[in-house]
């Protein structure tokens, strides 16, 4: 079989045999496939879409929603080769060490390993997403070129950095489907099937292994894939749909013996204009409000929460970004004039910016995906997403912003106005990262997780899940580079199984 094939040309009833079947051609699936290049292992990647957007294929993602407003399910992910990277923003930052910890104030927190388990994979992950050199602590050359960061002094907030996936002129960041198509086609042990939608993971009668995959196309074809090992990598929403719908042996769905599949859906809320930052000394370094280039990287500063502050103040992670310059109203000008005067500062050059942020939500088992009675064109049950965000989520971020304000005053650098107080005001400017996390959570205990530390579905010998759906908590960092690192770790584990 050639590297890229159209599943619509495969006769119904065909049985394909492979060593490793990868369901999904997004960043996780493509990373995994490329990790096996040249290995004596036959890889079959099954991508439900083609190489570009198609409305009929996209409509397979239609679903219903309840709870707080969220991106429609058929818009929050694009159903073709490249998956989430077809419409991501390119923001890259490793998860914090505390993101992996069991945090007493965060129910259901704690990964089965620490960040040190991913550290060896981050440089390769950064290379795959085409970020610059793996440096997220603040490159001195950036500071030399663009000026010093805000002086924040001691406290819970510190200057941190995003890197960005490379932009090519007006092009979007690295789109794995487009960027790596040629590389995938060169992998002699890889077959990639497009328009191949897996509609059922059929378990062996004892429920302890995957027997085969049922695959369907929108052209009406149906065929079977048999594989020694299967990796499910269709994202934090579709992974759930396929696991729950595959209920031929396990009546509640695969991996769902303790009713965890689909629960704990997480995303990073991105409320806009959360606060105003007044810099007493005039405009701040340009790497705060916009991306800058330097030393082989595209980067932007962010105001992050220290691990120590999270531990002592029991707040969640958040990454605050400086957005655009704004003007103060009369009262705001009076406050700044009074404060600067009292602090012995000159306010004549004071400059104000709107702030935005990416927040980390507390895990909530009721924020969940469930199957509905509606069916898609392939006969698969559709999903409902029940979305929640708690008042506590807002309050904890607000507490973090107040800490930033305290630090700015303590260093006589500036001050903060908190723009949002009521739930209604937070929701006015609410946006979402469209980061789908947590729905097949990882835990060493089969009663508390869908997959184990090696991303193997508990109780199923040859079924693994790749992607951010396995993250038990989401942190505030964007998931793509992190899920790629986790996928590289999975690849090493799978290579061991095939050795």
């Amino acid at each position: 079989m050639s590297a890229f094939s159209d599943a619509r040309n495969i006769p119904s009833g065909t049985i394909l045999d492979t060593d490793l079947a990868i369901i999904g051609g997004g960043p996780a699936g493509i990373t995994l496939a490329m990790s096996f290049a040249g290995k004596p292992i036959r890889i079959l990647m099954l991508e439900g879409g083609g190489t570009s957007f198609d409305e009929k294929t996209q409509s397979l993602y239609d679903g219903t929603q309840t709870g707080v407003p969220y991106t429609p399910l058929n818009a929050t992910r694009q159903h073709y080769l490249g998956g989430g990277t077809n419409h991501w923003g390119g923001w890259c930052r490793p998860l914090d060490k505390s993101d992996f910890e069991k945090r007493s104030w965060v129910p259901y927190s704690g990964w089965p390993f620490g960040r040190e388990a991913l550290d060896p994979y981050y440089p390769r992950a950064a290379a795959l997403v085409e970020a610059g050199p793996f440096d997220f602590s603040g490159n001195q050359q950036w500071v030399d070129k663009y000026g010093a960061p805000l002086t924040l002094g001691a406290g819970g907030i510190y200057n941190s950095w995003f890197q960005f996936s490379k932009m090519r002129g007006s092009q979007l960041p690295t789109n794995f489907g487009e960027r790596y198509a040629a590389d995938l086609k060169k992998i002699s042990n890889l077959s990639a099937l497009l328009h191949a939608n897996v509609t059922n993971i059929a378990l062996a009668p004892d429920g302890k292994s995957v027997d085969h995959l049922d695959v369907a196309t929108l052209a009406g074809g149906k065929f079977t894939v048999k594989a020694k090992h299967v990796v499910l990598a269709t994202g934090g929403i579709e992974n759930v749909r396929l696991l729950l719908a595959s209920n031929g042996v396990m009546k509640t769905g695969i991996g769902n013996g303790t009713d965890l599949v689909g629960r704990f859906f997480m995303d990073n809320p991105i409320p806009r204009q959360t606060a105003k930052l007044v810099s007493f000394d005039g405009p701040i370094a340009p790497y705060y409000p916009s991306n800058q280039h330097g030393d082989g990287a595209i980067f932007r500063a962010t105001l992050a929460v220290s691990d120590e502050y999270k531990r002592t103040s029991h707040v969640m992670g958040s990454l605050t970004t400086v957005e655009n310059r704004v003007e103060l109203d009369d009262f705001g000008r009076a406050v700044v004039a009074t404060t600067t005067s009292a602090l012995g500062m000159d306010a004549s050059n004071a400059t104000t910016y709107a702030l935005g942020c990416g927040m980390e939500l507390k895990p909530d088992p009721d924020r969940r995906l469930t199957l509905t009675s509606e069916r898609d064109a392939l006969g698969m049950p559709r999903l409902n997403l029940h979305m929640t965000i708690s008042d506590e989520d807002f309050a904890l971020y607000r507490q973090t912003m107040k800490e930033l304000g305290r630090q700015l005053l303590a260093t006589r650098t500036g001050m903060i106005h908190l723009d949002r107080s009521s739930r209604a005001s937070w929701m006015e400017t609410m946006d979402w990262g469209n980061h789908h996390v947590g729905t097949t959570r990882m835990h060493s205990d089969p009663k508390r997780g869908v997959v184990d530390a090696d991303l193997k579905v508990h109780g199923i010998g040859n079924l693994f899940i790749a992607g951010s759906s396995t993250f038990p908590t989401c942190g505030a960092s964007n998931p793509t580079m992190n899920l790629v690192a986790l996928t590289l770790r999975l690849a090493d584990h799978l290579k061991g199984l095939f050795a």
């Binding site: 002094g153 001691a154 009369d330 009262f331 705001g332 000008r333 009076a334 406050v335 004039a337 009074t338 404060t339 600067t340 005067s341 009292a342 602090l343 012995g344 500062m345 000159d346 107040k402 304000g405 305290r406 630090q407 005053l409 303590a410 006589r412 001050m415 903060i416 106005h417 908190l418 723009d419 107080s421």
Partner: protein, 126 residues
């Protein structure tokens, strides 16, 4: 609410102190404007405490907001403020407030507690 300033302090000693504090304010490098203080100071009370506040109208606005939204509790009084300020520059006290976590929120603005209290006093005196 800040209470007690109207009936607890006579005006004459305060006016005497005011002259000394004006000097301290200037020495402290603040943006204190003597003419504004004299020109806008209203009858009695906390003048000695307010020397570092600069433009009085702005401080009154902030103070009214702090009183209106309950930022400043009634327990705060001038004597406590006077002890906190001592002979130190106001800026030093405010920085100390922030370092030690004594910040309050007034209509969304995060302010050093002492500043909010002084502004409230200013508003009450206006």
């Amino acid at each position: 609410m800040i209470e007690g300033w109207k009936d607890g302090v006579s005006r004459r000693p305060l006016l005497a102190i005011l002259g000394a504090v004006v000097g301290l304010g200037a020495a402290g490098g603040g943006a204190y404007e003597f003419s504004k203080l004299i020109g806008r100071r209203v009858s009695g009370g906390p003048g000695d405490l307010l020397t570092g506040l600069g433009d009085r109208e702005s401080a009154v606005q902030v103070g009214k907001a702090a009183l209106a939204d309950g930022t400043i509790a009634s327990a705060n009084d001038r004597e406590r403020l006077r002890r906190r300020l001592g002979q130190r520059p106001l800026s030093e006290v405010l920085v100390e407030d922030a370092v030690q976590g004594r910040v309050v929120e007034t209509q969304g603005w995060v302010l050093p507690l002492t500043l909010a209290q002084l502004c409230a006093l200013t508003a009450k005196a206006s």
